[in-house]
Each structure stands twice: as structure tokens, then as C-alpha cells.
């Protein structure tokens, strides 16, 4: 049996947007993630990296209660957002998700026009202002405007994969949510589209707090300010993910403190 050291440098530099303090996450009888605490800082990009099955997506989805959709999901711990625990009994998960937007692994535009996709969240939040201007702003923000400005009324499903994902980002930022979660947003995309979205993330962090899950180490290095490395603990027979190392991205990649992090960064397993 090997116990894995952890090295958590959790002294935040800026204000904390979401304080994730995850003790245990269960899917039915299966303990999926334990002991993962990350302060997600305002106006920065926090990356979750680690081998597949390490629970990084699960941890991210705890931040806006997307896991509530999974049958048998149980959460122990707390997630502080603007001074409130979003897992408290009196909190409406629907309201949480309006403030904490999400971009998914697979591009998932709705089967409607490009314009309606972007305007969707605005209508949902009963936005009363100039809809067209907002939609244009969001599409510009997602670096998609020039490509789609002449075909806003066409079906979003006709766009390429990379365009669809940028549309999903535009849709998510149209309502200017407080935090943006991205769950492996580039895994279904080609390198050129990936590059564009990475540039976009760096631009967006001027205005948004971003948390991203990625299996691409270079991507984390390129975009993230802080990085958390998660690893699977199979010591007690299960496959339980947990946070092993957390700190500033440069430091984590330049001088990882924990053996598992070193080996992962060196590409010894994935």
C-alpha cells in the first residue's frame, strides 16, 4: 500500500470566487472523490488536471450542482459562493446555475438558430435591453462574430465542431455569469480550433472567473494561473479521486512537489 503525499498551496493571491471544499462525493455506493479543496480565485483561470477517472470532472460539476442530475449523487462538504453554501438546504440549484455558467466537453448547441442559441440565456434571465446588441457582443467575445454574422438565422447544428463550441461559449457568456466552468472544452476539437478557444479563455479571464478541466497538460500550462492535480487512489480497492497537489501553474509544472505529480507531468501515465 502506498500513501500519496499531498502538497496544497492554497493561499489565494486574489479574492476567492468559489471556495470548493469537498470532503466526499458518492455516486450510489461508489465513493468517487474525496478531500479536494480548491479556492477558485476571481479573474483567473484555475485548471483541474489528472489522469482519466480521477474525478476532476466530478469536482468541477460540484461547483454548479450539475451532479444533482446524476442518480444517487451525494455530496459531503461545502461550496461557498458569494458567502453562501450552494449545497445548503434552502438553495435552489437552478438559481446557482444562472450565476455559474458551464461549457461542456461535447459542443451542445440547441437545435435552433445561432441567434436564438445565444439569446436563450438572455430570455431566460428576462433581459429587457437590446437583445441584438448583446448577442453580437457575446459572439464577438467568443471570437465567432465574423464567421456567423451573415447567417444568424441559420441552424446552429450546421456549424463546424469548433464553431459550435465557440457558440456554446458565446451562449454561456451572453448573460455575463459570475463564474464560467469549462469541462474539457477542447477535447472534441482539432488543434486549430483548440488554439482559438485557448486564446479566447485568456481574453475572457479579464472579465470572468474560469475553472477548466483538461487532460491536456500543455493547455493547462498555456492558460491556467492556478492548477490542481488530481489522482486516483486505489489503495482501499475503490477508484477514489482526490486532490494531490495545488498551486501556481508555473511552479507546479516547474518543480512539482509530489512524486505522482512529477510522474504525471513527465508523461509516465495518463
Amino acid at each position: 500500500m502506498t500513501t500519496i503525499d499531498t502538497y496544497i498551496d492554497a493561499s489565494p493571491v486574489g479574492d476567492v470566487a468559489i471556495d470548493l471544499h469537498l470532503e466526499k462525493v458518492w455516486y450510489g455506493d461508489f465513493l468517487a472523490v474525496r478531500d479536494t479543496s480548491i479556492p477558485i480565485e476571481k479573474g483567473s483561470i484555475t485548471a483541474f488536471i489528472g489522469p482519466s477517472g480521477c474525478g476532476k470532472s466530478t469536482a468541477l460539476r460540484c461547483l454548479n450542482r450539475m451532479n444533482d442530475l446524476v442518480h444517487g449523487f451525494r455530496f459531503e462538504g461545502h461550496v461557498q459562493f458569494q458567502g453562501k453554501d450552494i449545497y445548503a438546504k434552502n438553495i435552489d440549484p437552478v438559481a446557482v446555475r444562472r450565476y455559474i455558467g458551464m461549457v461542456f466537453q461535447q459542443p451542445n448547441p440547441f437545435a435552433m438558430s445561432i441567434f436564438k442559441n445565444v439569446a436563450f440565456g438572455l430570455k431566460l434571465n428576462r433581459y429587457k435591453g437590446d437583445m441584438e446588441q448583446r448577442v453580437e457582443g457575446a459572439l464577438r467575445g467568443a471570437a465567432l462574430w465574423d464567421e456567423v454574422k451573415d447567417k444568424l438565422q441559420q441552424s446552429a447544428l450546421a456549424l463546424s465542431g469548433g464553431q459550435q463550441q465557440r457558440l456554446c461559449i458565446a451562449r454561456a457568456i451572453a448573460t455575463e455569469p459570475t463564474v464560467l466552468l469549462m469541462d474539457e472544452p477542447c477535447s472534441a476539437l482539432d488543434p486549430i480550433a483548440t488554439r482559438r478557444i485557448e486564446e479566447l479563455m485568456v481574453e475572457l479571464k479579464q472579465h470572468y472567473t474560469i475553472a477548466i478541466v483538461t487532460h491536456n497538460l500543455q493547455q493547462a500550462q498555456r492558460v491556467a494561473d492556478k492548477t490542481g492535480f488530481m489522482y486516483v487512489d486505489t489503495s482501499d480497492g475503490g477508484r477514489c479521486g482526490h486532490l494531490v497537489e495545488y498551486g501556481a501553474t508555473d511552479e507546479l509544472f516547474a518543480s512539482p512537489k509530489v512524486a505522482e505529480t512529477q510522474r504525471y507531468i513527465a508523461g509516465e501515465f495518463s
Binding site: N125, T175, T178
Partner: protein
């Protein structure tokens, strides 16, 4: 950095109205769901309660009695039960052969793809023609055709009219699409690797079909036939127009007969009193026979699917 970050969000929490209407909507879908169960129970209760006087009066003897005489208040449905089963079985015998042939032909690369599609659509269209139109067609096309056909075998034309034979033939046409569609699904879901194994051993096309494809799909094909049987039992209009509507219990294909559904269609409008109750009793019997057959058919098909899935795993 944290100072630059200050900005407004457009996000708003859901209003009270949104939350309440969400709850209301979800409960109402639940209510409609329960109402479906309520509907079936209401149908059973309504028909059952109307049938109660006749059930008390005639008991189970109703099922074995051959008389249907409103004047003497004597009611029994043995000939109708017989006619229902006999016509359906005859129809199935014919429809199974043809339906299975079509299912094989449109799924085993006998025809060019476009012709397969045309044949499939044509058979599906057979299911779209209303029952009453088949009845009309039966009266004016099938019976005259049978007359001239049977004349070759020495049957005088005057003896060929509304009877079991034309009724069963038309019924066969009506249930054929069911058999073809369900049997085709079963045949298509036979794993390709099994067929490849047969061809790899040097089997001819039909050795493969008869030796591998049909046995593997057998449960599904059987389920198709049982489902078609359920449909045939409840079919009303074409039979009411073609079977002759007389309470005769006979194996003779050219003898007129009656079915439960045709009895209901012909007698309910003018019935009253005990006769009406007896008709409701007949409806209960029809309901139970068709329910039993349909449930058996569905179970067989579920099992066929499970077997195939189990085979993959």
C-alpha cells in the same frame, strides 16, 4: 486584478412564478400519467358493470352456449368465440407465410436496395388502408374472384358468398404488415458475425437463412405472429362485412360465421335490456382474450430482445 474585475452580471435568480409553474407543470404531467391508468380501469369497470347482469344470469355457461336468441332471452357466444379464433388462425397461417417471405426478401439482399425500400413501403401502406375499405374491397373484389377461382374446382358460384374464407383472406392481408415489420426487426437484429460464420463455412444463402438467421430470430418471429394474432382477434369491420354474421359453428371454409367483434358491431345499436348486457359480457370476453394474447406477445418479444442482447455480452 481584483479591482479591474468589478462588473455587473445579467443573471437573475428564477422568479417565484418560474419556480411555482415548474412545480405545477411537473405535477400535472404526473397527473396525466396516472390518468392513463385510470382510463384503462374506467374502461374495465364500465364494460364490466354493464356486463354484470348477464354474468349473473348466464355464468360461465355463456361461453359454451350456442344460441343467441333475443326473443327467448337465451344468449351464448360459443360460435362467436369459435369464429374469432378460427378466422384469426386461418388468417395467421396465410399471413405468416407471406409476411415472413417479405421480411426475408427485404432484409437479406435479394433485391436492389431501392426495390427493397419500395416493397417495404408498399407493405407498410397495406396497414394504412382503413378496415372498412378492406371490407368494401372484399365484397366487390375478393368474393367474386373466389367465385371464379373455385368454379374451376367445381364449386357452384351460388355457394360462394360471405363466409369464413374471404373473411380470413382479407384478415390475412390486414395483419401481414404487423408480421413483416416485427419479424424484419427480429431478422435484422441477428448479429452479422453469425451470418459471416455460416458463409465462412461455405453455406449457401438459404442454408444460412434457414440454418442460422431464422433460428436465431425465431423468438422474435414468434412474438410477431402472436402480436398479429392479437390484432386479428380484435379486427372488426372487414370481418363484419365479409363473414356472413350467422351463429354457425363449422370447420367449413365456405360456411358463414361470426366473430365477437362483429357481433358487437352488428347488435349493439339495436340492443337493450338483457341482450345489451350479454353483448357487454361478450365485450369483456373479447377484451380478456386480446389482452392475454397481447401480453404474451409482448413478453415473447421482450425475451427475444433480452436473448439477443445477452448473446452480445
Amino acid at each position: 486584478m481584483s479591482h479591474e474585475y468589478q462588473r455587473m452580471t445579467l443573471s437573475r435568480p428564477p422568479t417565484r412564478g418560474e419556480v411555482l409553474s415548474d412545480r405545477w407543470f411537473r405535477w400535472s404531467t404526473f397527473g396525466f400519467g396516472v390518468a392513463v391508468i385510470g382510463l384503462l380501469i374506467a374502461i374495465l369497470l364500465e364494460i364490466g358493470s354493464q356486463a354484470l347482469p348477464a354474468m349473473r344470469e348466464f355464468g360461465l355457461g355463456f361461453l359454451a352456449d350456442r344460441e343467441w336468441d333475443p326473443n327467448k332471452n337465451d344468449f351464448g357466444i360459443l360460435p362467436q368465440i369459435w369464429g374469432t379464433l378460427y378466422s384469426s388462425v386461418l388468417a395467421l397461417l396465410v399471413a405468416s407465410v407471406f409476411g415472413l417471405a417479405v421480411a426475408i426478401v427485404i432484409s437479406q439482399n435479394f433485391l436492389p436496395r431501392w426495390l427493397e425500400q419500395v416493397l417495404k413501403n408498399v407493405i407498410e401502406l397495406l396497414a394504412a388502408i382503413p378496415s372498412v375499405v378492406y371490407g368494401l374491397w372484399g365484397i366487390f373484389v375478393v368474393i367474386p374472384a373466389l367465385r371464379s377461382l373455385l368454379a374451376w374446382f367445381g364449386v357452384p358460384p351460388s355457394e360462394v358468398s360471405s363466409s369464413m374464407l374471404p373473411a380470413a383472406l382479407v384478415l390475412a392481408i390486414m395483419v401481414l404488415p404487423t408480421i413483416t415489420a416485427v419479424a424484419r426487426d427480429a431478422i435484422v437484429s441477428v448479429p452479422v458475425k453469425l451470418k459471416e460464420a455460416a458463409y465462412g463455412l461455405g453455406a449457401t444463402r438459404w442454408e444460412c437463412i434457414l440454418g442460422v438467421v431464422l433460428p436465431t430470430a425465431a423468438t422474435g418471429i414468434f412474438g410477431a405472429i402472436v402480436l398479429a394474432f392479437g390484432r386479428a382477434l380484435g379486427e372488426t369491420m372487414a370481418l363484419a362485412m365479409l363473414i356472413g354474421n350467422s351463429n354457425v359453428l363449422s370447420l367449413d371454409l365456405l360456411s358463414p360465421g361470426n366473430t365477437l367483434a362483429a357481433l358487437l358491431a352488428n347488435s349493439i345499436p339495436e340492443a337493450g335490456g338483457m341482450q345489451l348486457s350479454a353483448l357487454m359480457y361478450a365485450a369483456v370476453v373479447l377484451l380478456f382474450i386480446t389482452l392475454a394474447v397481447n401480453i404474451v406477445g409482448s413478453l415473447i418479444l421482450m425475451r427475444a430482445n433480452r436473448n439477443l442482447l445477452g448473446g452480445h455480452a
